[in-house]
């Protein structure tokens, strides 16, 4: 349980951090600090169990239908990383509080930081690899937010984008790798995966899976050739760099190597891929770091180089190398975090990070200088510091295969990288703190605030005590973490400063002396070298690929998306038609099935002829808009008749009332629009569209015919049988709507409500001039609200409402229900608006339609929720019989309350639309004086 809390605690805290900073600048920092401490204290009891040799698992059902659980594990490796993430996280929280300036939004920073912290914890504590991948991707996303924190800077945005593109692409590859891994093992749980090393390594899919997993790990850990995002991510605020590039983000990749070490390592493929990538990264990173003038650039490349070292160690693949890898993870996290923080302090207090201007800072900030020098010495691998210990182990491990051909390459490369590491560390110390007085610094440097130094002090003290008394400090943690990696008994090793005059010792000596020498010939080398050594190739390649991709997508968009909606509709229809015709190609089949046909009667034939004529008339005469509108009204009424004929009385009633409202609506719209459509399509265009329409029409007709003449099976028997006993209603259509499929109906009325509100929003502030004359150019009648119509509709209103109540009440048993009753009520109200005018009617309706819609949705939803109170699923209905005097036996179902909600929404939306549409006219119709002048 506490594992789940540890992971989700930062996620929960993040929005609060963003919100709380509104109240005070430092609140968010406090909250983030408390969160880290809280998560650490939650972890503490579990950590004791892990030190006692246990692994802790926790599972929570997530999507049981898919067999997916949230599953977490805490073993030595997970514990080490969780401690690094939370511990260094806490220090970064403290440091950032002093680093960020008054203009920076503290809340946003700490919210992102907490999101990132939670994602990292999710990676290292996940038991399920798919779940691990979800957290993996969320570190990519949250690190994007962190790197681009200074959004106004171009390099922040492009650096963040590059980091996201590279690590995101790696995440995609990793997903593929994990899916293959799951296929091979038959489980996505780490416990099974780690136990199935033999099966995995001998499986034919091992190699592709390995490539994909390594792509994920290498992109995240900035291994060659994906290293170039890391220096560009230095555009982030320094606390972010200190966090992401020491203990967390980039360590996720090596974490993955360590995590899957027992399952994947021990093959030649693993050895060659991992160790070659590691070696190239180690050497090139160290070499380039030397030439960087930017303090953070130097540290960035040094980070790449150290990550290469760790990768190389895991690539070597012996248990002892893995132990050394874990040890270097710890050491690198401590000294690199403190160095980044020191670089941030220098930047903060001196105003620049350019090492050509920074000199002699010892005079100004001796205390910070001492801290930075100890940390840099640890980075160089100077004895009595932690970096020395793991580096010695590394040197010793490179000597394993020295007898093989080319075996000398590894120790030589390692020593060379050691020389560069010493040289750039020594440059960091000598160049910044000594080497003469500073040259035109923007600010006069001084010591930072007291508490800004505390995180650096803590880390530097750790470097020292680990380096001097490793057995008393780091040994238990290293042992438990290394056994977490190996999932097997640990090999023999000793953590001591002095191992005698062995080869590894001499390699260290060569590195130290050689490094100092290289630095002192630095200016000589520098003169030889023209460009300040990036590998332009990779970054340029990235940009080329990116630009090509942009061009490609732009091309595709331009190809598919034209500016003309008219043409796009055409493309859509053509495509649909092609798909339809494509379905016919292949096996020949009979269009006509063997189902018996219904006889044709005269009335039906007549109605059909009227519908066809009216529809064709609408299309042919569409340029005369009013005529077309009348024609389409005929079609709508005809459709209602078809519904009535084919045993669908509910549909007929609905269609009839909808038809009325639709025609009124279109008439209203036509009042504002031009009365005629100009004939602007050329003849061939019309012919083309006609052919297309003919094709679509024939297709639909043939399809309908083919379906109608074939027998079919339906699931309707269930509804027909259950309607009365289960839903308490005889009208099966209504029972389906409000009971069996009530959830769908709830969705549908929500859509309707949204459409209504959308229309209301669109009409906000819209004013249109109505036409002054009808389509025959006659004036409108001056009598806007004829008395006869007014009196009649007023008389009709109570009757119409009565009918609607009747229709509503009987809806459960006979044709009717909320939809139809709602439409009838709406029609009755709209009649009032038409007859009496909007202002008059609105003044007499005591509530507005938005409230009505809201009430309807609320009633419908709470009817559903009410069944929860009785421990039934959402929208379970109940019913009982009631005897009304005069009316007789009568069923009262809870679904009726739901239907009431439907009713209210339908009334509300319909009236809202019509009334607001009526309100948009300026004053065309009422300005009789103006029109008198026209006359």
């Amino acid at each position: 349980m506490s594992l789940l809390l540890v992971v989700f605690f930062p996620f929960f805290a993040a929005p609060f951090a963003a919100a709380i900073s509104k109240l005070g600048r430092l609140h968010a920092a406090w909250l983030a600090g408390v969160t880290s401490v809280g998560a650490l204290s939650l972890l503490f009891p579990e950590a004791l169990a892990v030190f006692a040799g246990q692994s802790i698992f926790y599972q929570l059902e997530w999507i049981p239908m898919l067999g997916m659980n949230l599953s977490f594990r805490l073993d030595g490796l997970g514990l080490l990383f969780a401690l690094l993430i939370l511990g260094i996280g806490l220090l970064v929280v403290l440091y950032a509080r002093y680093y960020l300036s008054a203009q920076d939004d503290m809340g946003r920073f700490y919210a992102y930081l907490l999101l990132f912290m939670g994602s990292m914890l999710g990676i290292v504590l996940s038991e399920n690899v798919i779940q691990l991948l979800i957290f993996w991707e969320s570190t990519s996303l949250s690190s994007f937010l962190l790197i681009s924190y200074w959004q106004h800077r171009q390099e922040s945005r492009s650096g963040a984008r590059m980091a996201l593109a590279i690590t995101g692409a790696g995440g995609l590859a990793l997903l593929g790798g994990f899916l293959l891994l799951g296929e091979i093992v038959g489980s996505y749980e780490l416990t099974s995966i780690l136990e199935s090393g033999e099966i995995i390594r001998s499986h034919p899919l091992y190699f592709p899976m390995l490539i994909l997993v390594l792509l994920g790990a290498f992109t995240k850990s900035a291994q060659f050739p994906f290293h170039f995002w890391l220096p560009n991510a230095m555009a982030a605020p320094t606390p972010v760099s200190a966090y992401l590039h020491s203990a967390t983000m980039v360590k996720a990749g090596v974490f993955l190597l360590a995590r899957l070490f027992p399952a994947l390592s021990g093959t030649p493929e693993w050895f060659w891929l991992v160790s070659v990538a590691g070696l190239i990264t180690l050497l090139s990173g160290a070499y380039i770091a030397l030439w960087k003038h930017d303090l953070k650039g130097l540290l960035a490349y040094s980070t790449i180089s150290h990550l290469g070292l760790i990768t190389l160690l895991f690539g070597i693949g012996t248990p002892l190398a893995a132990v050394a890898g874990v040890f270097h993870i710890i050491n690198h996290a401590t000294f690199k975090a403190s160095l980044f923080m020191a670089a941030g302090i220098i930047d903060h207090e001196a105003g620049t990070r350019d090492m050509r201007r920074l000199r002699g800072l010892w005079e100004f900030m001796p205390y910070t200088a001492t801290l930075a020098m100890v940390a840099a010495a640890a980075m160089a691998g100077v004895p009595l510091l932690n970096g020395f210990l793991s580096k010695e182990m590394f040197f010793a491990e490179t000597l394993h295969d020295i007898d093989l051909p080319w075996g000398w390459l590894l120790p030589t490369g390692a020593t060379l990288a050691g020389i560069f590491a010493v040289a750039y560390s020594w440059r960091f110390i000598h160049n910044v703190f000594f080497n003469g007085p500073p040259t035109n610094l923007p600010k006069t440097p001084h010591e930072p605030p007291r508490w800004m130094k505390v995180p650096v002090e803590i880390l530097v003290v750790l470097c020292l005590v680990v380096g001097i008394v490793p057995n008393l400090t780091v040994a238990p943690l290293l042992a438990v973490a290394a056994s977490g990696v190996l999932q097997a008994p640990l090999p023999e090793y000793t953590l001591s400063i002095w191992h005698g005059l062995n080869t590894a010792f001499w390699m260290s000596v060569i590195a130290l002396i050689g490094g100092v020498l290289v630095y002192h010939f630095f200016s000589f080398f520098f003169a030889l070298r023209q460009s300040s050594g990036e590998w332009p190739a990779m970054k340029t390649l990235y940009n080329i690929v990116l630009n090509k991709l942009f061009n490609l997508t732009e091309g595709v968009t331009r190809f598919l998306h034209t500016d003309s909606l008219q043409r796009m509709v055409w493309v859509l229809v053509v495509f649909a038609l092609m798909l339809g015709i494509g379905g016919l190609i292949g096996e020949p089949f009979a269009f006509t099935g063997e189902r018996a046909l219904l006889p044709v009667d005269g009335v039906s034939l007549l109605v059909a002829i009227v519908i066809v004529l009216a529809a064709v008339g609408t299309a042919v005469l569409h340029q005369q808009r009013l005529v077309a509108l009348i024609m389409i009204g005929v079609v709508g009424l005809g459709v209602a008749l078809i519904f009535a004929k084919f045993s669908a009385p509910d549909l007929a009633l609905t269609q009839l009332s909808v038809e009325f409202v639709t025609i009124v609506l279109m008439l209203l719209a036509l009042y504002f629009l031009p009365q005629f459509t100009p004939g602007e399509s050329r003849n061939w265009l019309r012919a083309r569209d006609g052919m297309l329409a003919l094709g679509a029409g024939s297709g639909m007709a043939l399809l309908t015919w083919a379906v109608l003449t074939r027998p079919y099976a339906t699931i309707a028997e269930y509804f027909l049988a259950e309607s009365v006993p289960g839903g308490g209603g005889h009208n099966v259509v209504n029972v389906i709507l409000v009971d069996f499929r009530g959830y769908d109906t709830l969705g549908e009325i929500t859509v309707m409500a949204l459409a209504g509100l959308g229309i209301y929003a669109m009409l906000e502030g819209l004013k249109l001039k109505g036409s002054v004359a009808d389509f025959k150019a006659d004036q409108w009648d001056e009598d806007k609200h004829p008395v006869i119509m007014g009196s009649l509709t007023r008389l009709l209103l109570p009757l119409a409402l009565l009918v609607s109540i009747f229709i509503f009440l009987r809806g459960h048993n006979l044709p009717g229900g909320g939809f139809i009753a709602g439409l009838i009520t709406a029609v009755a109200l709209i009649m009032q608006y038409l007859a009496q005018g909007t202002t008059w009617t609105q003044a007499r309706i005591p509530f507005d339609m938005q409230t009505m819609i809201a009430a309807g949705l609320l009633i419908a939803a709470s009817t559903g929720l009410a069944s929860w109170l009785f421990a039934y699923p959402f929208l379970t209905s109940t019913f009982s019989h009631l005897h009304w005097p005069l009316v007789g036996e009568f069923e009262l179902a809870s679904a009726m309350a739901f239907d009431l909600g439907v009713f209210l929404v339908v009334v509300g939306v319909t009236v809202l639309i019509i009334v607001n549409l009526g309100l948009i006219h300026t004053d065309s119709h009422s300005s009789i004086p103006t029109r008198n002048k026209i006359r």
Partner: protein, 109 residues
């Protein structure tokens, strides 16, 4: 009877498609309305045609029409009304913003 219904659905679709391809908003709205009639009829037809057997449970009835397509169509009618209204208002808004009622917001020569 099946042939008549197929024909009606075909004609409604054809007229609907033709009108939807026009350049002005009002015919397009008419076209969409015709298409929604066609779609509703088509949905109903998927339950096959039955005469005189509404799906209302009585003791004397010896068969019922399929209620499922009917339930589908009933909501479809109401929703398509809401959508037609939305499109109409969109057309009015475009007319106001663009000064003409072409679907692409431009006058073609």
């Amino acid at each position: 009877m099946e042939a008549i219904i197929s024909l009606i659905i075909g004609v409604l679709t054809a007229c609907g498609v033709y009108l939807s391809l026009r350049g002005r908003t009002f015919p397009v709205v008419l076209g969409l309305t015709l298409l929604s009639y066609a779609a509703n009829l088509f949905l109903l037809a998927m339950g096959r045609l039955t005469i005189g057997a509404p799906p209302i449970i009585t003791e004397t009835a010896d068969g019922y029409a399929d209620p499922i397509p009917q339930a589908l169509v009933l909501t479809a009618i109401v929703i398509s009304f809401a959508m037609t209204a939305f499109v109409i208002v969109l057309a009015l808004k475009t007319f106001k913003e663009m000064g003409n009622d072409h679907v692409d917001g431009i006058h073609k020569p």
